[in-house]
Amino acid sequence: MGIRRGHRANLWEWLAERVIFGVSLSAIVMIFLIFLFVMREGLPIFLGSMSSSAVQEVIPVEQMDQMPKEQLRSYLGLSAKQFAEMDRETMQALMEVKVEQQKEIPNDKDAALNTTSWRYLLGPHQWTGYDKPEYIWQPVSGIHKYNIVPLVLGSLKATCVALLFSVPLALAAAIYVSQLARPTIREWVKPCIELLSGIPSVVLGFFALLVMASVLQGVLGYQSRLNAFVAGMALGLAIIPVVFSIAEDALTSVPRSYTQAALALGASPWQAAWQIVLPAAMPGVFAAVVLGFGRAIGETMIVLMASGNASIMSLSLFDSTRTITATIAAELAETVFGGHHYRILFMIGALLFAVTFVSNFIADLVIYRLKARMEGKA
C-alpha cells in the first residue's frame, strides 16, 4: 500500500503524517505504561523495602513531648498534612492506641517477622501452631502470610487442565476445517467458533458454576464441588477459539501446492494433512498453544467463580484451588491503599504480566517467521 508520492509537499501534509505517526505509537506506549504502573505499585515488595512486621518499638505516652516532630509523625504513621492539623490531645490518644495495639499482638514469635520478604513469599515456613514448614497464603489473619507458591500452583493446575482439554480438540478441529472438510462445512464452523469466542468470560464462569460443576461432580463423584478441574474445563472452553483460530490460520497458510503434490503421489487427504501440512505449520501450532497458555493463565472471571478459591497446597486436580488472577480480583477491593497486602497483589499482577508478555512475544515472533517463510515459498 505504500504509495509514497507528494505527501511531504506542504506543511499540513507533513503535520498530519507526524500526528498519525504519534497516535500510532499508542499501543507501544500503553504496553510500556502498563508495565510501569503495575510495577510501580508493586516495587517496594520487589525491592524488599516493605515491612509487615507487627512488632514495633513502643514509646511511652509520657515521652511524647521530648520526641522530635518528624520522628513522632512517622511513629504515628501520619501524613504531613494530617500531622499539622492534629491537636495534642488526639495525638496523645493515638499514642495510647499504639501502646494498646502492641499489647494485643498475639504472643507469637511470628509477629516479629516481615512476611513480605522474598524468603516468606517463596519458601516454606513453620508457623506457630503448625508441626512442619508449610506454604500458606493467608493475608487476612493475625499474622499476614503471603506465600505465593499455592497461588502459582493453583494457576498452573487450572491452566494444565485447560490446555489438556482444549488443545487436542481445537487442533483436531483446525486440521479438519482447514484440510479435510468441504468449504460449506468451513463456512458453518467458523461463525460457530466466533460465537464461542464472543461469549463473555463471566458467562462461561456462570455456566461452570451452576451447570458444569454439578454435572461433572455427578459423573466423576469427587468431594469438593468447585475445583481446579471444573475451572480448567471452563477455561478450556474459553481458549478453544484462540487455539483453533491461530492453528487454523497457520495450517491454511501452508501453500496449497504441498497438499496437491502429496495427493498426486497417492497420499490420502489425511496423510497429506498429518504428514505434510501439519509439520510445515508446526511453529504456528506451537504459537497457538503458547497463546492459549497465556490466555488461560490470565483469565480471571472463570477461575474466580468456578475454582472454589481455597488456597490449598495440593497436587490433586479435584481440590478447591485459588489462582493468581482470582486472588487479585477477590482481594484487591478490601486492601488498604498502599499497604503491604495491596502491594503484594500488584506484585503478583506484575509477575503475571511478565509471564503473559513473554508468551505473547514468543508466539508473535514464531507466527511472523512462519508467515514470512510460507509467503516466500508460495
Partner: protein, 316 residues
C-alpha cells in the same frame, strides 16, 4: 501408504482404515466443539427465557437485588451502554489512526510497522485483570489523584476514585487491538487502483486517505468498533476496581459517578446470593440479556462485514 507395492499398480486401492478413522476423529472433535456451544446457549436460553419479562428488562432493582419479584436490569443496561459509548469515543479514533498509519504510511515490512504490530498483538494478550490493576494504579491513583491535587480537591477525592470515565478508558486500552486489526483488514481490502487514481488526479496523500480510503473502509471500521463494543460489554475484571458498583440507587449522570454493569451483575448474582436456588431465575434472565446484547452486536458486525466484502468484490 495406500499404493500397493509390486503387483498390479492399477488394482483397486484398499480401504484405508487408519486415514478414514483419523479424518472421522477430527470431524468428531469439530462436532463436539459446536455441540458444546449449542449446549451452553441452549441451556441458557431454555432456563432464561421463561424468567425474562418486559418489566425485568425495563425495571430498576432494589437494594435487595436477589429478590425475584422486584429485580430489574435497566440500570445495568444503562450503565453498560454508557460505559461502551465512552469507551468507543476513546478507542475508535486512536485505533483507526493507528491502522491508517500501518497500512497507508509505511511499508508493511518496515521495522516500525513490525514493532507497532508486535505491541498490538501483545496488548491483545494482556490478562484482563492486569488491565484492572493498571486502571487502578494509573488512572485512579496517578492521573485522578494528581488532577484532584491540581484542582485543589485533595480532601474529598473527585477524580481519584473509581468512576465510569476510568473504567471506560481502561476498557478502551483493552479493546484497542480489536479496532486496529479490523480496520487494518478493511483498509487492506481496498484496491490499490483507487488510491492510484486519486493520486494521479492530483490529490495529496492526506486527501486520498480522508476522501477515498476512509469512506470506502467505513463499514470495516464500523465492524471493528462493534466488535470492540461487544468485547468491552462482556469484560468484568478490568472494571471491578475502576468503576463498577455493587449497588447504586441512581443512574450515573457524571463522568465521576460509579455505575452498575451487566457482566458485573451476573458475577454478583452468582457468587453473593444468599440463596442461589431462589436467585437462579433472575440470574439466568440477566445472562440472557447480556448474551443477547453481545451476540446482537457480533451478528451486526458479521452482517456489515459480509456486505462490505461483497461491495469490494464488485469494485475490484
Amino acid at each position: 501408504m495406500t499404493i500397493p507395492k509390486g503387483g498390479n499398480p492399477f488394482a483397486r486401492v484398499r480401504f484405508d482404515y487408519a486415514s478414514n478413522g483419523f479424518s472421522a476423529l477430527t470431524g468428531l472433535a469439530t462436532l463436539l466443539i459446536v455441540a458444546i456451544l449449542f449446549v451452553i446457549l441452549g441451556n441458557i436460553a431454555y432456563f432464561g427465557w421463561p424468567s425474562l419479562s418486559w418489566r425485568f428488562v425495563t425495571g430498576g432493582t432494589e437494594k435487595d437485588m436477589f429478590n425475584v419479584d422486584h429485580a430489574g436490569v435497566m440500570p445495568m443496561i444503562f450503565g453498560t451502554a454508557a460505559l461502551v459509548i465512552l469507551m468507543s469515543i476513546a478507542v475508535v479514533p486512536v485505533g483507526v489512526i493507528t491502522a491508517v498509519y500501518l497500512t497507508e504510511y509505511t511499508q508493511s515490512n518496515s521495522v516500525m510497522t513490525r514493532v507497532i504490530r508486535g505491541a498490538v498483538n501483545n496488548l491483545a494478550g494482556v490478562p484482563s485483570i492486569v488491565f484492572g490493576l493498571f486502571g487502578l494504579g494509573f488512572f485512579i491513583n496517578f492521573v485522578g489523584q494528581n488532577m484532584d491535587a491540581i484542582l485543589g480537591k485533595a480532601d474529598e477525592p473527585v477524580w481519584g476514585k473509581p468512576a465510569i470515565l476510568w473504567a471506560a478508558l481502561t476498557l478502551a486500552i483493552l479493546t484497542l487491538p480489536v479496532v486496529i486489526v479490523a480496520t487494518e483488514e478493511a483498509l487492506k481490502a481496498i484496491p490499490n487502483g483507487l488510491r492510484e487514481a486519486s493520486l494521479a488526479l492530483g490529490a495529496t496523500k492526506l486527501q486520498t486517505v480522508m476522501k477515498i480510503v476512509i469512506p470506502q473502509a467505513l463499514p470495516g471500521i464500523m465492524t471493528g468498533s462493534i466488535l470492540a463494543v461487544s468485547r468491552g460489554a462482556g469484560e468484568v475484571a478490568p472494571i471491578m476496581f475502576t468503576g463498577a458498583a455493587y449497588y447504586m440507587a441512581e443512574l450515573p449522570s457524571r463522568l465521576t459517578d460509579q455505575f452498575m454493569e451487566l457482566g458485573y451483575h451476573v458475577f454478583i448474582l452468582s457468587t453473593q446470593s444468599p440463596d442461589i436456588e431462589r436467585t437462579r431465575p433472575i440470574l439466568y434472565a440477566t445472562v440472557v440479556v447480556l448474551l443477547g446484547l453481545t451476540f446482537l452486536l457480533n451478528f451486526v458486525a458479521i452482517l456489515v462485514r459480509a456486505q462490505m466484502r461483497r461491495k469490494l468484490r464488485s469494485l475490484s
